[in-house]
């Protein structure tokens, strides 16, 4: 199967490099060949949320982002989800309408008083 070239159309592609001229076309194809494909990149980006990314991969990622604004967005959005997920517990009362019954509150208060005593 002949290799499909990346980004056949520059229309609507807001990436830094998007085959807008001869030089960009050459660069896009070169970068596309020598950095992970997006399907792989999103796995690597997810993994980088849990463990540090090796230096060489960080460089490849930065270069890949030049031809792919979608992977860059993906990374930004993963970081955003990470940040909001961390804050979720403190906003749980806004996220849910479950009732914390007053008799349960009283039971817990009694337990606390017992413990304090």
């Amino acid at each position: 199967m002949p290799e499909e070239s990346y980004n056949p159309s520059p229309i609507g592609n807001p990436s830094v490099l998007a085959r807008r001229n001869w030089l960009q076309t050459k660069l896009v194809i070169f970068i596309g060949k020598h950095t992970p494909k997006c399907r792989e990149m999103v796995r690597i980006l997810s993994q980088s949320m849990d463990e540090p990314m090796p230096l060489m991969m960080r460089i490849k990622k930065r270069i890949h982002f030049l031809i792919c604004c979608w992977c860059q967005r993906y990374e930004e959005q993963l970081r955003y989800i990470h940040e909001t997920a961390r804050q979720f517990p403190e906003h749980a009362d806004e996220a849910s309408s479950a009732i914390f019954h007053s008799d349960t509150k009283e039971r817990i208060k009694r337990k606390l008083v017992e413990q304090a005593g």
């Binding site: 290799e3 499909e4 990346y6 980004n7 609507g12 592609n13 596309g32 494909k37 997006c38 399907r39 792989e40 999103v42 796995r43 997810s46 993994q47 949320m49 849990d50 463990e51 792919c68 979608w70 992977c71 967005r73 993906y74 959005q77 993963l78 955003y80 989800i81 990470h82 909001t84 997920a85 961390r86 804050q87 979720f88 517990p89 403190e90 906003h91 749980a92 009362d93 806004e94 996220a95 849910s96 479950a98 914390f100 349960t104 509150k105 039971r107 817990i108 208060k109 337990k111 606390l112 008083v113 413990q115 304090a116 005593g117």
Partner: protein, 225 residues
């Protein structure tokens, strides 16, 4: 020292003015039964609802959630001396609750369920073209308005909860332990009896699914309105 300015409003309701002259660790030693009682009661009133709702979202069983909240408050009274006042009272209590939830899951130690395996088979079809690059039509869209502007709205947190509730139970537990409780990957593998590679795949899938759910149900909706 202005403890309130440091987010430490635990001193509200404590009438003994002499307490204010001491650091929190010293305060514990001079706190009387009645001051502990009044502080603890206020914790239950101010933060009980939040802790209970978070626990319920995580464990899905009201009676278990209630027990976890009670254990959290009891641990808070016992470990009050450890509360330095650097974080807010709610953050501190949430931190204790997160540990209680992880302990709960540690005791459960479940086997993989069918729905979890089903979740693995979803390969995000159509998102990538055959050679592995994003399908430009279906790639991540820009999130407008800016995330920081919308995350302080209650509706956002409701959408987040709804998106989480759509996930299979085990992958949701994996995500919440890793992202909300900040449990190290190795510990999650041990708690849920899964391999390291399974964990990576699950986290990858759950992040992708959650990202898409938030985009569809929050950012696209907000952008249009």
């Amino acid at each position: 020292m202005n403890f309130r300015a440091r987010g430490c409003n635990v001193y509200e309701g404590i009438s003994d003015v002499s307490i204010w002259k001491h650091k929190p660790a010293d305060e514990l030693r001079i706190m009387t039964k009645s001051t502990i009682q009044s502080a603890a009661e206020r914790w239950v009133d101010d933060h009980g609802e939040c802790l209970y709702r978070f626990a319920l979202i995580r464990v899905r069983k009201p009676e278990v959630a209630e027990d976890l909240v009670q254990e959290t408050f009891l641990a808070a009274v016992r470990g009050y001396e450890k509360f330095s006042g650097r974080s807010s009272e709610r953050t501190w209590l949430c931190g204790i609750l997160k540990h209680k939830i992880v302990d709960y899951f540690r005791k459960l130690r479940r086997e993989p369920s069918f729905t979890d395996l089903e979740f693995f088979s979803d390969e995000c079809l159509g998102k990538f073209v055959s050679i592995g690059f994003w399908n430009h039509e279906k790639g991540p869209k820009e999130w407008k308005p800016e995330p920081d502007e919308v995350m302080h709205r209650a509706e956002f947190w409701q959408t987040m909860r709804d998106c989480l509730s759509k996930l299979p139970q085990k992958v949701r537990d994996v995500f919440t332990m890793r992202e909300m409780d900040d449990v190290p990957s190795k510990e999650i593998c041990a708690i849920l009896s899964i391999s390291d590679s399974n964990l990576r795949v699950m986290l990858h899938r759950v992040r992708m699914a959650l990202r898409e759910c938030l985009e569809m149900n929050w950012f696209e909706t907000i952008g249009k309105s």
